[in-house]
Amino acid sequence: MLAVFKREFKAYFNSPIAYILIGLFMLLSSYFFLSNLSTQSADFNNNLSSMSFLLLFIVPILTMRIIAEERKNGTEVMLITSPVSVSKIVMGKYLASVSVFLVMTAVSFIFPIIIIIFGQPAMAKLIGGYVGFILLGCAFIAIGVFASSLTESQVVAAVISFVILLTMWIMDFLSSFTSGLLAKVLDWFSLYARYVDFSEGILSLSPIIYYLSFCFIFVFLTIRIIEKRRWSQG
């Protein structure tokens, strides 16, 4: 697992993709941060929810190649015929994407640090907001990795994961228009609804478990997709 993780992580930084994504993310979040500066506000959590909206675009690009490219280049053969099991391969890849996302998040710590130096933010809210942001990102990446396992084409993978993420995002919005069971079901799948708690500074166990199991399910589905392909085709 470590071998796959190391290779993937290096591959992100050997190609321009990680730098471009982090740069783009920082550029846009600096623009959001401008409002903090101009209004002299110490509330960062509005920014975090705007930043999590950016993830909708960044995560599909981050994860699109992670499995699709292996299949296209035929390098999948090397991984699967090695003694490393498929679940470890997928886990390694997933964790590599998550690590790049964590690096990106770490770079964005510069904004709260500036706020802490010049103001008094509510620390609990800030920490809660970031924990939620990271969990949300991990769930998004799990969907992205899953989408990448469905196809050989990176572009198709990116589009699939974007559509799934967008649907998840507006699920909350949709559920407010419906009622009864449908509203409940839509609510269950709304990633965003859980995120609101975090940005209020509430760290309760159930949304954390919700996000983690969400990641687990999509990573598991990815493993099943790859295994299934080995049984049905060549």
Binding site: K6, V77, S82, P83, V84, G234
Partner: protein, 378 residues
């Protein structure tokens, strides 16, 4: 070595793979002994790659068992995969890595000790002669070098079994000879399965040959026996200046000549003939004297290698030439199944129609290409 039972390194029993209605591999049975180099021969789409993919655990079989060193691939995939080095048809290379990093990654995957790693990578690079390109990105290497890096990857971890899918494709003639020598040398310590459609390669390297067609085994034997059994004719291309029909009559009349075919007319006075003769009788001398008597000068004599198709047709159809056309259609049908490999497809479409000369022309063409590629590297 612990798991090895008796002398059979690889045991394949009733192996079948279905793609929907189509049987890509149909009830294969064979064993490979320790230290043996087994050639896997067959036209495109015969199921060579599928079989190799199953043995290495890349895809699963529909029925039947594969045992490597006594371990079943389904029950004990980890143990099997540890013991196999696989070079697929398309080498599994990460284009954005350097050769050294790539081999390090292969070591990580195969769990080679940190202690032995450095010396092992060094030895392998020396063996396949890629030491001088070790810091290059793989995407900048020529096809021949990429192939070698792929082979190096298969050797990592000193596996007992090597499975090589068309290892000499895309190499120049010099490299082909080197790689064959290398494979032969590796055969002393490893058990090797090698797929190819080049017949001389089989006779040069392999101890035993499995010919498969449409997923079924058509013949298993040593190359010598196959040649003796099926290669009972020799063929020549002869270019003669003179009247076509008269020359044809002369050629047909010579003792030992079985068949004369007009291949092409260069101009009104120069014709190419394809002469098929008994293997034991050298018909070149009588041909020369007979034609000299009539003062029809021979401009060129070229012997044509007995090709896979020839032996293959013999094996499958017992020498009936008329089945050739039908065979062509079948091959094309089975190709559409395995269209994962476009290069194989295009090759196969030419193969049935083309005679040997065309085939060899094509080969030399690609070899030239590889040659120029390598110059770029150096």
């Amino acid at each position: 070595m612990k798991g090895a039972r008796g002398n059979n390194m690889i045991e394949i029993v009733n192996l079948t793979k279905n793609y929907g209605q189509i049987k890509a591999v149909d009830n294969l049975n064979f064993t490979v002994e320790k230290g043996e180099i087994l050639g896997f021969l067959g036209p495109n789409g015969a199921g060579k790659t599928t079989t190799m993919n199953i043995i290495t655990g890349y895809i699963s079989s529909s029925e039947g068992t594969v045992k490597v060193c006594g371990y079943d691939i389904l029950e004990n995939p980890g143990e099997v995969k540890k013991r196999i080095g696989y070079l697929p048809e398309q080498p599994p290379l990460y284009m954005d890595m350097t050769v050294k990093d790539y081999l390090n990654f292969a070591c990580d995957l195969k769990r080679v000790d940190k202690k032995n790693r450095k010396s092992q990578i060094y030895d392998i690079m020396e063996l396949v002669k890629i030491t001088h390109v070790k810091d290059r990105l793989i995407k900048n290497l020529s096809k021949g070098y990429k192939q070698r890096v792929g082979l190096a990857q298969a050797l990592v971890g000193a596996p007992e079994v090597l499975i090589l899918d068309e290892p000499t494709v895309g190499l120049d003639p010099q490299q082909i000879i080197e790689i064959r020598k290398l494979i032969k040398a590796l055969g002393k310590e490893h058990t090797i399965i090698l797929s190819t459609h080049i017949l001389p390669e089989v006779s040069a390297v392999c101890d035993r040959v499995v010919i498969i067609n449409k997923g079924k085994i058509a013949a298993i034997d040593t190359p010598e026996n196959l040649n003796r059994k099926y290669g009972n004719t020799s063929k020549f291309n002869i270019r003669v200046s003179g009247p076509k029909n008269a020359i044809k009559d002369i050629l047909s009349g010579i003792y030992g000549v079985k068949k004369v075919e007009v291949r092409s007319e260069m101009d009104s006075n120069v014709t190419d003939f394809l002469v098929e003769a008994e293997k034991d009788i050298d018909v070149r001398k009588p041909i020369f004297f007979e034609l000299a008597k009539k003062e029809y000068p021979i401009l060129e004599v070229k012997s044509v290698e007995m090709s896979l198709e020839d032996i293959f047709i013999h094996v499958v159809n017992d020498g009936k030439e008329e089945v050739k056309e039908e065979n062509k259609e079948d091959q094309e049908n089975s190709d559409t199944v395995e269209n994962s490999n476009p290069s194989e497809d295009s090759a196969s479409q030419e193969l049935p129609a083309s005679e040997d000369a065309e085939l060899s022309e094509k080969e030399t063409g690609s070899e030239k290409e590889a040659d120029t590629d390598d110059k770029e590297v150096e």
